[in-house]
Subunit: 228 residues, 2 copies
Amino acid sequence: MAARQLTIIFLTRAEENYIKTIFHLGGNKSQLISTNAIAEQMETKPSSVTDMAKKLAEKKLVNYIRYQGISLTGAGIKTALSIIRKHRLWEVFLVKKLDFTWDEVHEVAEQLEHIKSEKLIDRIDALLDYPKYDPHGDPIPTKNGEFLVRDKQLLSELAIPSSGVCVGVKDTSAAFLKFLDKNQIALGHEITVMEKEVFDDSLKIKIGERVLQISNQIATNLYVKTES
Amino acid sequence: MAARQLTIIFLTRAEENYIKTIFHLGGNKSQLISTNAIAEQMETKPSSVTDMAKKLAEKKLVNYIRYQGISLTGAGIKTALSIIRKHRLWEVFLVKKLDFTWDEVHEVAEQLEHIKSEKLIDRIDALLDYPKYDPHGDPIPTKNGEFLVRDKQLLSELAIPSSGVCVGVKDTSAAFLKFLDKNQIALGHEITVMEKEVFDDSLKIKIGERVLQISNQIATNLYVKTES
DNA sequence: ACATATTTTTAGATTTGTCTAAATTTTTAT
DNA sequence: ATAAAAATTTAGACAAATCTAAAAATATGT
């Protein structure tokens, strides 16, 4: 058994942010991501992305083909998962231990995810009793980079009538999350879809004893898990 | 009542580290600190300190007189206290909640102290039940920048025989802290000085039922508080 | 007091990460 | 197929934070 990685390569904050963004844009599945797409996501310029692509390619973290695009190497994927793991564990910590609301966690977790200490994140993981999902329902990669993908569907895709348990959100903007808080819709709640309005695709749903009418835009941003 | 500070000025990590170092070197009491002293402490070059001194003077955080030295302004002291507060609260968190040993906390706290979120540090403070001292016995500034200075003296300065409670360490190196752990000397322990060896100034001390012989170097790095 | 040593600053260079503007390559539309 | 549009890269510049080497100011010793 050869050691997997003898030298822990140091990455700057900027490098880590690029790796993370490429992962989120799908650069793991050997799919090539355009510099434009990365630039837009990161609110920077395509020329800056090109510069960084060369740098990360040097470090064997990405595959970069000029004019074609960028994808993550195995090492790049491992790095991305480690950053995402930290981000999501910190989010759980903020919500469970410090009573942050789920719309407040992202900004702070963006900073905390760059703290370099394996012991720290492992102890946080233990303190939280090894959570599998973050406050938005997204899976937390394990220390070994395993990633539980939960099967789930959009509330808008449910048969009518039927029901499921809320397990995540697609849109994680503060505006959407605050809307959910205000309407007492949270992870774990059982949601029953009663009727769909043909005119605007809005849904009449039931949560516990409460009946509410939600727009299609809401329904296409809430994930539920059904019995299967 | 005018607002104390309307604009939260953004400081880079480097700027924060300079402010903190100047504070620790005594640059609060309108004492001028030399660029050489700062450079040595920060393991950088005096010319780099000069550059930063100009930059911080621009931002009204330090008073800088060419060829004379650098001291903190009121705003600079406030900034320093805020960083030290964060550092020490994170140290307490690491020890109390994540079972770090006191020689492990410094390096991680150096990173965590730069996280920008007032809500985060206030919630950590509350989670820890508003501690007054960090794991090395150093006082934690309050949110308003108040600083409890505890009267304490070095173990080596105690009359013989007499006793005091261990309240802090002067040297915070990993080597010294590990030594203390190994010999089960910790904050809160009552230490009785029994005899001083005239030859090498080593001390015979008693902690609980244990009697041990400690060198002068140890005795000059342990703080105790006596009845007074 | 004055020569020498020390400290501090200046000037110019380097690295990282970014930008703009121009050049190049790829894609799209007719 | 080829001209126009879109995407991407290159070249050159900039700010932040650092460095080295040289110049300037201050401190020290006899």
